[in-house]
């Protein structure tokens, strides 16, 4: 592997890891704060990708082509949907056993997949990256790196920073931190726990959808795209430690690196490597790298 290839793989690994972080950070908060196993989280990622595909023509027709506006609209829509879903389906799951959460969110996956099939069909669709991000940066004589992938990483980093500031500096963030480390305590503090749950859930949906939207030009949009991301994000959440945003970040990057280089170095066993990593880490630390923090 020469230097340019190595550099490209590194960039890919980081970009993939950061994207996973967007999805996993919401998932880990929903796990940690509400104690809900949400199998449907991957569907929100898929929903976002289909927003990027489906909203673009509307935006183009009404406001002229604007990728950013599509993102903003899609994000707002996703947050609204998340808010409504929490109210309709998740609010009564908190006191139920994990088993029933698994069952119900599995049902939700089926519903989302079928709605997607009814609304957008079962074909694979491409989504165009905006023209101003379409170029490539030359790294060596033969190899280039697409600007759009850098844009993905940049959006993820920016979102991560916003998340950091919200969680560290605001009252909402304080409640989230308290909730992730000790659920009972928050309940006894007289915080409006229902509202907190609803906000966290909606934010989680928004993050997953944002990830789906910005990934769409690279990944294309296709049926069942959510379930692949879901399983990998479970791996990330568990490695990082349930409820820990910092853990999710470290684990996402770790998984991104291991997966990307696994594919390059052992193409035969690429799928196995990530799960092997998870198994090893959990045997070393049965509660993940950063348990709640």
């Amino acid at each position: 592997m020469d230097l340019a290839t190595f550099l490209i793989q590194c960039l890919n690994a980081i970009q993939y890891g950061l994207l996973l972080f967007l999805v996993a950070s919401g998932l880990t908060l929903i796990f940690g704060i509400m104690g809900v196993i949400n199998l449907a989280h991957g569907s929100f990622y898929m929903m976002g990708a289909y927003f990027a595909y489906g909203l673009a023509p509307f935006v183009a027709a009404w406001f002229g082509e604007s990728f950013v506006l599509t993102l903003v609209l899609g994000l707002a829509l996703a947050v609204l949907i998340g808010y409504a879903l929490e109210w309709a389906f998740f609010s009564f799951l908190y006191r139920r056993e994990h088993l029933q959460q698994v069952l119900m969110t599995y049902g939700l996956i089926l519903v989302f997949e079928e709605l997607r099939s009814i609304l957008a069909g079962n074909d694979v669709h491409g989504v165009n990256a905006p023209a101003w991000l379409a170029g490539s940066i030359p790294l060596s004589d033969l190899m280039t790196y697409p600007v759009y992938r850098l844009f993905i990483s940049a959006v993820c980093v920016a979102t991560g920073l916003v998340l950091y500031v919200v969680i560290r500096q605001t009252r909402l963030g304080m409640m989230i931190r308290a909730g992730a480390s000790n659920r009972e305590m928050v309940q006894s503090l007289g915080i409006n726990i229902r509202l907190l749950y609803r906000i966290v859930f909606a934010a989680g949906v928004g993050l997953a959808a944002l990830a789906g939207m910005i990934a769409a030009p690279v990944s294309t949009v296709y049926p069942n795209m959510g379930s692949q991301v879901l399983i990998i994000c479970f791996v990330v959440v568990v490695i990082g430690g349930i409820g820990s945003i910092r853990g999710a970040l470290v684990a996402s990057l770790l998984v991104g690196i291991v997966d990307t280089f696994g594919k390059v170095l052992f193409p035969e066993g690429a799928g196995v490597v990530v799960y092997l990593l998870m198994a090893v880490i959990l045997l070393w630390r049965p509660e993940g790298l950063f348990r709640s923090g």
Partner: protein, 339 residues
């Protein structure tokens, strides 16, 4: 415990056995074939119920043992000759058990959500081993062309190529697994597992090596899943990595929960309910052109089931019984204070 596994399930089991034995004379060949498939899934669900309901271990990777056994049967059977049924059966079940032993020894160190996720991870590992490498023909899978045969001194009591024979072979195995698990759950071993499910700390303090108990249950469940996996491979003669996928693990977990975890017959009811619902929703005769959106109806039904039947389909009877027991007890303790 006693009040849970005794009366009602036995009546249910006998009734179900008679109904299933009579089915081939009443139903179409398609229905017989479908029921064979469901019974295989019922054995699979029963094996998971030993973990979920019997021991309190929610495994989200149970398809791995099903798939490993199916692959073992397909890969180790001779190519141009019929394999010996008992031998191939034993190999498949032991292969599943061996994988369960390795995985169980590791995953039983974790608990709760982590346990759910690590079992999933190990199943995904097995999935990718068969999917990405040439061990089992990659994503195309492998064929088991000739059905295994049982020969006793030159006499062949049945022929698995015959759908009816296969049906009864599966029914006998389902009944055997059901009886075995019924006995197991009310034996000392089963009661110890129930104790571990409710309060593992207390069981250790009383002197039970709980890790060994859980590992034994895990391996046993893996082997029983192997029975189902063997049947699956023998029935369709085709094995592919999807048998180990998380969708398969999810589906079998769904059967257990939908039927009602904590009750053996719940697993069987769940296997029938889920498969038949799926068939019904996908049937154009019933739902016309909407049938191609069967997932929507199935998903909505599942969500409703969670909302309305938290104890699963078979839980309704138990809830009534528990309520009556509580009422009787409340009456008794009121009497005791008076005295």
């Amino acid at each position: 415990m006693r009040f849970r596994f005794a009366r009602l399930p036995m009546a249910f089991a006998l009734f179900a056995l008679v109904a299933l034995a009579a089915l081939p004379w009443l139903a179409t060949p398609y229905m017989v074939d479908l029921t064979t498939k469901i019974m295989i899934m019922a054995i699979f669900a029963l094996s998971l119920e030993l973990l979920v309901g019997g021991t309190g271990l929610v495994s989200f990777g149970h398809a791995a043992y099903f798939g490993v056994a199916a692959y073992a049967a397909a890969l180790l059977a001779p190519k141009y000759d019929a394999a010996s049924l008992p031998l191939l059966f034993a190999i498949a079940v032991l292969a599943a058990g061996a994988y369960a032993l390795v995985v169980g020894a590791l995953v039983l160190r974790t608990r709760g959500i982590y346990f759910i996720m690590v079992t999933l991870a190990f199943a995904q590992m097995a999935y990718y081993i068969f999917h990405d490498t040439k061990v089992g023909g990659g994503s195309d899978g492998v064929y088991l062309n000739i059905k295994p045969e049982l020969t006793i001194l030159g006499w062949k009591p049945f022929n698995l190529d015959n759908g009816l024979h296969f049906y009864f072979f599966t029914l006998v195995l389902l009944a055997a697994v059901f009886v075995f698990l019924t006995l197991l759950l009310r034996s000392r071993f089963g009661c110890a597992l129930a104790g571990i499910r409710v309060n593992e700390t207390r069981m250790r303090a009383a002197g039970f090596p709980t890790y060994s108990y859980k590992l034994a249950a895990f391996v046993l469940a893996g082997m029983l899943a192997g029975v189902a996996g063997f049947l699956f491979a023998a029935k369709d003669g085709f094995v592919n990595p999807e048998l180990l996928s998380w969708h398969q693990s999810g589906a079998v977990l769904l059967m257990v929960i939908l039927g009602g975890a904590g009750r053996l017959h719940g697993a069987v009811v769940g296997a029938f309910a889920l498969t038949l619902l799926q068939e019904a929703f996908a049937s154009e005769a019933i739902f016309g052109s909407f049938a191609k959106h069967w997932q929507l109806l199935l998903g909505a039904t599942i969500i409703l089931a969670v909302a309305l039947l938290p104890e699963g389909l078979t839980g309704v009877a138990d809830e009534i019984r528990a309520w009556r027991l509580r009422r009787r007890d409340a009456g008794q303790s009121a009497g005791a204070t008076d005295a």
